[in-house]
């Protein structure tokens, strides 16, 4: 009897910690609106943060340097500089023409470690600056290259596909169903690519916003089929955060026992599922 209680307790505690682990810090961008129907000058504001609560700016601002805007014609240009607040970064983007815009934060960073005079040093730098981080005489150099990409989508008046073309580099999601035409109960299809090639049997997840009012994360876990595509019925209306990583279950940080060189990819996207 006593043993059972203890076992139950241990189980409960471990479950609780698993739930806590699920509330990890997430990096996200959220647009003030995803669909604008107006014949006046149109703007969208993008907020970006790293936080415990999804879409709740409760920890620190997201660095939006390198944010780009791909316009309906497929032309990519740097976004204006962001205002960096205590909890979030904010950038206002004007939408000069009708169609769909893709707002992307992509970065390649290197995380690594080496031994110098018997001491282990760690570093984190952009891909370009990483080479300068390793001094002469360094031994046991380990480097993990992290290729990250974050997207969100906004449409002015008429949805278009010019901004949605895959770039063919890194890990990316290709929205076969238009990302600004998602309605609860409808069927949707998307595709994952790694360096332009379809990723079969690849797991990803979607979490609806408003976790704090639910308590549970409400994560929807999906996997691509043999062709690297996933078809599914769209869940309840909300703003959603989709995320995926390749390799799917890689540990965080450079491991002491890991290979000297490794590469990891991560992708996330914010999109809205609208009511019918």
């Amino acid at each position: 009897m006593h043993t059972t209680t203890v076992k139950k307790l241990v189980l409960a505690v471990s479950l609780a910690s698993a739930a806590l682990a699920a509330h990890a810090h997430r990096q996200w961008m959220i647009p003030t609106t995803t669909v604008i129907e107006s014949d006046r000058e149109a703007w969208v504001t993008i907020d970006g943060a790293t936080s415990e609560g999804l879409f709740e700016a409760d920890f620190m601002p997201l660095k939006l340097d390198g944010l780009t805007v791909t316009d309906p014609d497929g032309a990519t240009a740097p976004a204006p500089a962001a205002t960096v607040g205590k909890h979030r970064s904010t950038v206002d983007i004007r939408l000069p023409k009708d169609g769909t815009y893709r707002i992307t934060l992509a970065a390649v960073n290197v995380m690594g470690s080496y031994k110098l005079n018997g001491e282990t040093k760690r570093f984190r730098a952009s891909e370009q600056a990483a080479q300068n981080e390793i001094p002469a005489g360094a031994a046991e150099v380990r480097r993990t290259t992290m290729v990250q990409r974050q997207d969100t989508f906004v449409t002015l008046n008429k949805a278009s596909a010019g901004a949605l073309k895959p770039v063919g580099r890194g890990l990316e999601m290709v929205a076969v169903t238009h990302p600004n035409e998602l309605h609860a109960g409808d069927k949707a299809r998307l595709r994952f690519l790694l360096d332009g090639k379809p990723l079969p049997n690849f797991p990803f997840s979607m979490i609806p916003g408003g976790v704090r009012y639910r308590g549970t994360a409400g994560e929807v876990r999906l996997t691509t089929d043999a062709n690297g595509e996933a078809s599914f019925t769209l869940p309840a209306p909300n703003m959603y955060w989709l995320s995926a990583a390749y390799p799917a279950n890689a540990p965080r940080g450079p491991g002491a026992e890991g290979p000297a060189e490794s590469k990891r990819y991560s992708y996330s996207a914010t999109f809205e599922i609208l009511p019918e």
């Binding site: 129907e37 035409e181 609208l274 009511p275 019918e276």
Partner: protein
Amino acid sequence: MKLSRTLALTLPLASSWAMAADLTVKFDLPQLNVAEYHKPYVAIWIERADQTIASTLSVLYDVKKRDNAGEKWVKDLRTWWRKAGRDAKLPIDGVSGATRPAGTQTMNFGPAITGLDKLPAGDYKLVIEAAREGGGRELVRVPFAWPAKGKLAASGAGKEELGAVAIAVQ
């Protein structure tokens, strides 16, 4: 035997007569106790099994507003708008109409509007969507099979912006 064959021959005639009949839609616009009440915009259409629109029966909005200003808010009928309204040119002859006050409303639609006489046999839904300025939006679907065996009568109900909805083909 001979008699039943004669009957069979006359049946197609009889069913095409039934198809040509009028469709009546009766719907309740609830009297709402709210601080700001505006008459709802309402769209009524026939939906195919794949949720596409077979025909729009009615779009009720502020048709009299100067400079067609009422059309601006027709897109608040979100479902109708994204499936048909966006590509429609307003006002639509015989389809656009003025808003209706709270209470029970009855509307009759002939075959020219419903297109029922030309619809292939199958399962359909009569859909009514109401959207109110400063209020909510609601959709009620009333499923029916077409052509109907005998008289067609079906009903549904909303929760807030719409009350009881009943359809009949006589």
